[in-house]
């Protein structure tokens, strides 16, 4: 096979010619034209999580854009610059607030690529990244790891290690990784197609995801149930791979492009009109495929078409009249805006509307909702201190809302906030938006959500 992205190793359908990777090298540096849109007004400072932590211009969007400009002017990438780019969560809160319409998402993506291309990281960092990118995007490997994790969790080993504070001697990243891992659920597999209840309104495909399918499979199950109840056939391609979000957001563009091409191929074969995603990070990455593959003459157009069919599940449901009756759920919930849903995709009102349509449900807002919880993909693993501080802050705000249940639409957020709540000694159940809707449609009592 011709130039295959190395770590991708996705299954590439026969007869497909991959683009020459040389053409991908064009326009790597943050484009001057995009940078020009910034007029230095500073509004982005108001919602930037790292600026709220440290109060330093270099770790604000405005400052980072300035560093990018220095790059674009021809200055070499330095360790200093890399540090500040690495510290950016990529939460895109700045994108939402910028009055001039600066495309920080594109700028950051280009900057990250530059960082990866030109940096020699320390061996510990390289090892960590290797570990993450060899494991997370591959469900089969994740499943294997999950089996081990399950044993670890249920055998008593975990309790033992915590009681004896074994992890205190480990580096922060390992501690974080351990604390984030949720209780591994029973493995669940899905049929290729699930038929709609009643008259069919359409056919959709579902991305089951990597972390989602292994560690949060009940969310996928709930998603299928709701879609089916609302009259949609759900196609779940068995061979689907990773969407490449983690790679794309880490500047590993070739790797991400490989995943993207495979995924597009997989889902295009289904011929559906909408590809449903229940993970905010994945959905946002898939909507960016047009930009990711813009220099690929074979895939550019296809990617654009594909991206236009991607819908977050809440976004999708909000486009249709609800069909399945909602039963009452007497529960107070706080809705957490995942950055990649609210800022990156602009999906804010739909999940709230869906939740408020459930009788008996009391929806609360979380203070400082626009500030990231610190998960930001793998940020909490790469920058554990900052991630931890932001997680703690989010936990405090969530608790202050007085809600009994936290609703979050992203596995990363769920893990992060749960871990943070545990750190302050509280347990608060967390559920995905779709699980709440599922419970309502299924007529389950609130305690099924609360007793987690």
């Amino acid at each position: 096979m011709a130039a295959q992205p190395k770590a991708g190793r996705a299954v590439v359908p026969q007869g497909l010619r991959l683009a020459d990777s040389r053409s991908q090298k064009a326009k790597r540096a943050p484009e001057l034209e995009l940078l020009d849109a910034c007029v230095h007004c500073g509004f982005c400072l108001a919602t930037c999580p790292t600026y709220s932590l440290w109060g330093e211009e270099m770790d604000s969007p405005r400052g980072r854009i300035y560093l990018m400009r220095e790059l674009a002017e021809g200055e070499p990438m330095t360790t200093v610059m890399r540090t500040h780019f690495d510290r950016c969560l990529g939460c895109l809160a700045c994108l939402s607030v910028c009055p001039s319409g600066v495309r920080y998402d594109k700028l950051l993506a280009a900057a990250r690529v530059e960082v990866e291309r030109s940096t020699n990281r320390a061996w510990q960092e390289r090892l960590l990244r290797w570990f993450i990118f060899e494991l997370f995007p591959f469900s089969r490997r994740l499943r294997a790891a999950a089996v081990a994790l399950r044993v670890y969790q249920r055998s008593g080993l975990r309790t033992f290690m915590h009681r004896h504070e074994v992890f205190d001697r480990f580096p922060a990243t390992v501690r974080t990784l351990e604390s984030l891992a949720p209780r591994v659920p029973r493995y669940e597999s899905f049929p290729e197609t699930v038929a709609a209840h009643g008259e069919r309104r359409g056919v959709v495909a579902l991305l089951t995801g990597c972390i989602q399918s292994v560690l949060f499979s009940p969310v996928n199950a709930a998603t299928v149930r709701v879609l089916v109840a609302e009259g949609f056939d759900v196609v779940i391609p068995r061979q689907q791979g990773c969407c490449g979000a983690l790679s794309a957001h880490a500047g590993r563009d070739e790797e991400a492009q490989g995943f993207a091409r495979s995924l597009i191929e997989t889902f295009d074969r289904t011929g559906v009109s909408a590809v449903i995603v229940n993970s905010a990070g994945c959905g946002s990455a898939m909507k960016e495929y047009a930009h990711l593959l813009r220099d690929d003459p074979l895939y550019a157009h296809v990617a654009e078409q594909f991206s236009s069919r991607v819908r977050d599940v809440a976004e999708f449901l909000a486009e249709w009249e609800p069909r399945a009756p909602r039963h009452a759920l007497e529960v107070t919930v706080a809705y957490h805006d995942a950055c990649h849903l609210a800022h990156a995709q602009g999906v804010r009102t739909q999940p709230r509307d869906l939740l408020q349509a459930i009788p008996g449900l009391d929806l609360r807002e979380v203070a400082e909702g626009e500030i990231c919880c610190g998960s930001a993909g793998i940020y909490n693993l790469l920058q554990p201190e900052a991630g931890g501080e932001l997680g703690d802050r989010k936990a405090r705000n969530v608790l202050a809302s007085g809600a009994e249940l936290l609703v979050a639409a992203n596995p990363g957020c769920t893990m992060q906030v749960t871990a943070a709540l545990r750190r302050v000694g509280t347990r608060l159940p967390v559920a995905h938006t779709i699980e709440v809707i599922d419970a309502s449609i299924s007529g389950l009592p609130a305690r099924t959500l609360l007793g987690r």
Partner: protein
């Protein structure tokens, strides 16, 4: 010639490693504030975490004869926080807490880096707010507000920073920490150095604590959006309303060009075909507001308002304001380049000044979009031009100067809210005689005989070589698109 490497080391010993920045890439991120035209890279940046640390830095600078400039959030529009290439930039963004809220006495004590809106957020649960509301209040610092005596859309009724600060803790250019004003109490005996300090643009000291006055949030607010066929009509309406004894909380006016831009940008759905659009807000006790609203509608209609809407709820109110607040970012869509001006004229001269400006603009061959705080005569003419066309940038800049002359000749001022800073120091002689400026300097020399505290700002002075701020040409990217929700 100062050895900045050594000086930086000295500062690190005083403040701690993380608070002294010397990496060139990092220093550059501080080289301009909200006025991106002027850029000067500082020699050293420090980020102190307390008043004591500010004092230590100033003391060190004074001992070494190093000039220093203070900076808050860096959103100022006159280059007041423009650094010195041979100096230290003292950034207060790590000193940003609301230290104390005293609801009984209607005071709050905050650090200088605290964000303006955060004060209101801290006291809103008690039914109070901090009145001065610059449009950048989401991010601008209270210390910066003190330096510039910032106002905001509601300053017509509620005044400026100087009316809402009762005490300051300041590090003087001697390196001493003093209290100006009476803290929470009023009328401290002696000279009103507090009043003289506010608006001194960081040239006579650095604020390290601010005691502000809080106001009770008004019972009712009503906002009206009115469309007129001409600016004259709208201006007349404003005059009538004010003559009727109403003091609106805010009165904003946009001309057709500004409306066109705003419409293209945020689809605010302003009255179609309007020659001028007015946004009038009244607040206070319910009964007063109802009556004021009635009068506002009456006078607007009388002067030809062809369409009038009253906001039914907070969401609609925000929509009315959205168009106005986006006007600046929006003009970027109808012109490749532009310059924002800030001038004041007596309100009654609004129509005549605008007509004169229109003529001046057409003579110069450039377009001008107008957005005003109509209630207090503060104009923000947006001079639109295309930098790629030969000579157009120069014509635009000349027109800006002419507009300032017009403001002064009409009995107004060269700056209503952005301050003089680096940008307008050269224009001060349009408004003040040498004697006037020399008298102001008497205050400055009393505070800062060494001349190290934010030198080169406010007063015109010959530029020293090496310190020339890089004035970018009109084709500079930073001039191209909108300035955002700054005004």
């Amino acid at each position: 010639m100062t050895d900045f490497v050594q000086f930086a080391e000295h500062l690190r010993q005083l403040l701690g490693e993380g608070e002294v920045v010397t990496d060139h890439e990092r220093l550059r991120t501080f080289e301009c504030d909200g006025l991106a035209h002027f850029r000067v890279c500082p020699a050293i940046v420090v980020l102190p975490q307390s008043g004591d640390e500010v004092k230590a830095v100033v003391g060190a600078c004074v001992a070494q004869g190093v000039p220093y400039v203070a900076r808050g959030s860096g959103t100022g529009l006159s280059g007041g926080a423009l650094p010195r290439a041979d100096g230290v930039l003292i950034v207060t963004t790590k000193m940003r807490s609301v230290v104390e809220v005293d609801v009984t006495n209607q005071r709050a004590t905050v650090e200088p880096g605290a964000v303006n809106l955060d004060i209101t957020r801290a006291v809103a649960p008690f039914g109070f707010y901090y009145a001065p509301d610059p449009s950048s209040q989401l991010v601008c610092s209270i210390g910066g507000n003190v330096a510039e005596n910032s106002g905001g859309a509601h300053c017509l009724k509620y005044g400026f920073t100087t009316h809402h600060v009762t005490g300051l803790e300041v590090v003087t250019p001697d390196g001493e920490v003093v209290d100006l004003g009476g803290g929470k109490a009023l009328d401290a005996p002696g000279y009103d150095l507090l009043g003289a300090f506010i608006g001194s643009e960081g040239t006579i000291g650095i604020t390290t604590k601010v005691v502000v006055r809080l106001l009770r949030s008004p019972e009712a607010v009503e906002t009206v959006l009115a469309g007129f066929s001409s600016i004259d009509d709208a201006a007349e309406a404003v005059s009538s309303i004010i003559a009727a004894g109403i003091v609106p909380a805010a009165v904003e006016l946009m001309d057709a060009l500004a409306v066109q831009a705003a419409e293209a940008s945020v689809h605010c759905n302003y009255p179609v075909g309007a020659g001028a659009v007015l946004i009038i807000e009244v607040d206070g006790p319910r009964v007063d507001v109802d009556e004021s609203l009635r009068l506002v509608e009456h006078h607007s209609k009388f002067h030809g308002a062809f369409e009038m809407r009253v906001a039914k709820n907070a969401a609609e109110r925000n929509l009315f304001w959205k168009g106005r607040k986006s006007a600046f970012a929006a003009v970027g869509r109808i012109s490749p380049d532009y310059i924002v001006q800030d001038g004041v004229i007596p309100r009654t001269m609004l129509a005549s000044v605008l007509n004169q400006m229109a003529k001046m603009a057409s003579d110069a061959g450039v377009r001008v979009a107008n957005v005003f705080h109509a209630g207090d005569g503060n104009l923000h003419p947006l001079v639109l031009f295309d930098g790629s066309v030969d000579g157009e940038c120069e014509r635009a800049e000349r027109l800006c100067g002419a507009i300032l002359d017009l403001c002064v000749a009409s009995g107004g001022s060269i700056t209503g809210e952005h301050g003089v800073g680096a940008d307008k120091a050269q224009h001060m002689p349009r408004m003040f005689s040498d004697d006037d400026l020399a008298t102001m300097q008497l205050l400055r020399t009393a505070f800062d005989p060494a001349g190290l505290c934010n030198p080169g700002k406010v007063f015109p002075n010959p530029r020293l070589c090496g310190e020339v701020p890089i004035r970018h040409s009109a084709s500079d990217p930073s001039v191209k698109t909108g300035m955002g929700e700054i005004f």
